[in-house]
């Protein structure tokens, strides 16, 4: 799933490891989510949103909205 995680992380000058520690996940997880190879579960998506103090939809791009925009 497309997302703004890398941008949000960069704005805070956090490394992937910093973000991983804040989320209590592995650095591999952060990398997989950032690159869109892995979609986080809803609880993890909420943890990410709470950490950045943003609504989920401002971090993750809804696949249905993305395809409707393309149309």
């Amino acid at each position: 799933m497309e997302n703004r995680l890398r941008v949000l992380r960069a704005e805070r000058r956090w490394s992937q490891q910093d973000l991983a520690e804040r989320l209590e996940v592995s650095r591999q997880s952060v990398n997989a989510i950032e690159t869109g190879k892995y979609d986080p579960s809803l609880p993890l998506a909420f943890r990410i949103a709470e950490l950045f103090e943003l609504p989920i939809e401002e971090i993750f791009v809804s696949p249905s909205r993305r395809s409707s925009k393309a149309i």
Binding site: S26, Q28, N31, A32, I33, T35, K37, Y38, S41
Partner: protein, 136 residues
């Protein structure tokens, strides 16, 4: 941190299983082949190394339960599925070949090592498709 403990526990369990396997296999061979123990006692003695191998499956199940990192859990599940799928496929094909008298009998204990090789293939598939092979 919790995921590190899960991995460490898995490594210890795996090492204990393998050490137990080697020790009980040597003892079972000595008792049955050298001392000539037979009957129910031989069944009981020879099942112990098999249970040591089975305890690796238990260790894998515990890792799946104790691993708190959901992405690494997904990697492990993919490895387990690929390992299971490959093992079942190979054993089924071999079974048909054996049935038609094309190949020799395949000893059942080969299935466990075959499954572990299949999991290794799963790790390679994870690396190629997701860029990570850290499931197990």
């Amino acid at each position: 941190m919790a995921q590190m403990f899960a991995r460490r526990r898995y490594t210890w369990r795996l090492a204990a299983s393998m050490a137990g396997y080697v020790a009980t296999l040597v003892l079972a061979k000595y008792a049955i082949e050298d001392r000539g123990i037979a009957g129910p006692a031989a069944f009981a003695i020879s099942v112990v190394p098999a249970l040591c191998v089975a305890s690796v499956f238990w260790a894998l199940a515990r890792l799946l339960i104790e691993e708190k990192d959901e992405y690494r859990r997904v990697l492990l599940v993919r490895e387990l599925l690929i390992g299971s799928g490959l093992t079942l496929t190979v054993v089924t094909i071999w079974g048909f070949w054996e049935n038609f008298g094309l190949v020799q009998h395949f000893d059942g204990w080969y299935i466990a090592p075959l499954f572990f090789v299949g999991m290794g293939v799963g790790g390679v598939v994870n690396k190629l498709t997701l860029g990570d092979s850290g499931g197990c």
